[in-house]
Symmetry: C2
Subunit: 153 residues, 2 copies
DNA sequence: AGAACCTAGTTGAAAGATAAACTATTCCGC
DNA sequence: GCGGAATAGTTTATCTTTCAACTAGGTTCT
C-alpha cells in the first residue's frame, strides 16, 4: 500500500472547521425544531419535500431520495409522522408494491409554523454569518460533493 | 409575530446543497470507516483528538468539547471503545471527580490504519472535488458558524 | 465549618438509526 | 406464460443517541 496523500495544514484546517461547524449546526437546528415544534430535522425535511411535491405526495422511494434517507429509516420515520397525523400513506394504484406518502392538512399547518422559526435559525447561525460569495462557494462545493458521491453508486 | 425573512432562491439553493451534501458525505465516511475499520465517525473523532493531546490523554469534558459530543454520549462511546481496548480511562489525581481518557497502543495503531484510508475518502469525496478557493471559503464560513453558536450559550 | 450551589462524569430508560431478512409485486429473457 | 432477477416497502433485532436523573467531589459565601 502506498503512502497516503495527507492533507496539508490549510486543507486540514478547513476540513475540520467544516466537520465541527456542521455537527454543531445540525445539533442547533435539531434542538430548535424539537423544542419548538416537536420535530427532528429529518422529520422536518420529509414534510418539506412532501409539501413541494405535486399534490403534496411522493412515492416512498422518491421521498427517501429527496430527503437523503435510507428506505428503512424513512419507513420508521413515516410511521411516527403518521401516528402524529402529519402524514398519511396509501397504496399506489399503478404499482401494487408502491406506496404514496402525502402530507395531511395538519402536516402542512405544522410545517408552515415550523418553517417560520426554522428559517430564522438558519439565518441566525448560517446565512447571516457568511459572506454571500462564501455562501455561493459552499453551494458549488457541496453540489460537487453530491455529484461525486452519486457517481460512486 | 412578524413575517419571517425567507431565504431568496439563491440562498435556498446553496443552503440545500449544503444540507444534502453534508448528510451524504457523513454517511459515506461512516460506512467507509465502519466497514474497513469497525469505527464510526464519532469514535474515530475521539481517537483523533486523543492522539493529538499531550500524553495522548484528555479529561472527559475536554474531549467532549473537542469532539463536539455531549458528555453522556462520550461516556457511552468511551465505554465501547474501552471494551474494544482502544481507550482506557483512569482517575485524575488532582480532581477526584475527574477522569482521564487515554489512547492505548492498540488504539493508536488502529487509528493510524484508519486514518490512512479515511484521508483518501476525504480527498476523493471532498477535497479533490472542491476548488481550493472554495475550500477556503468553507473554512471561513464554518469557523464563523462555530463562533456564532459558541456565542449563543 | 457548613449550607447552597456548581461541575465532572456515569447511568438507565426511551427514542431513533442501521442492517439484514422478509413479503409482495413487477420486469426481463426466453 | 414461466422462472429468475430486480424493485418497493416493511419489519425485526440490534446498536447508538438522547434525556433526565443521579453520585460525588469541589467552590463560595457567611
Amino acid at each position: 500500500m502506498s503512502e497516503p496523500r495527507w492533507l496539508d495544514a490549510t486543507q486540514q484546517q478547513h476540513w475540520r472547521a467544516y466537520v465541527d461547524g456542521s455537527i454543531r449546526l445540525t445539533e442547533m437546528m435539531d434542538r430548535d425544531l424539537k423544542s419548538r415544534h416537536g420535530l427532528s430535522v429529518s422529520e422536518y425535511e420529509i414534510l418539506v419535500r412532501l409539501s413541494e411535491a405535486p399534490d403534496r405526495r411522493l412515492r416512498m422511494a422518491e421521498l427517501a431520495e429527496h430527503a437523503s434517507q435510507s428506505r428503512s429509516r424513512l419507513s420508521h420515520t413515516c410511521s411516527r409522522l403518521e401516528a402524529k397525523g402529519l402524514v398519511k400513506r396509501d397504496n399506489c394504484p399503478n404499482d401494487k408494491r408502491g406506496v404514496f406518502a402525502h402530507l395531511t392538512d395538519e402536516g402542512f399547518a405544522t410545517l408552515e409554523r415550523a418553517a417560520r422559526d426554522h428559517v430564522e435559525t438558519v439565518r441566525t447561525y448560517f446565512i447571516d454569518v457568511i459572506d454571500p460569495a462564501d455562501l455561493a462557494a459552499i453551494g458549488r462545493a457541496f453540489a460537487a460533493v453530491v455529484d461525486r458521491i452519486g457517481d460512486a453508486r
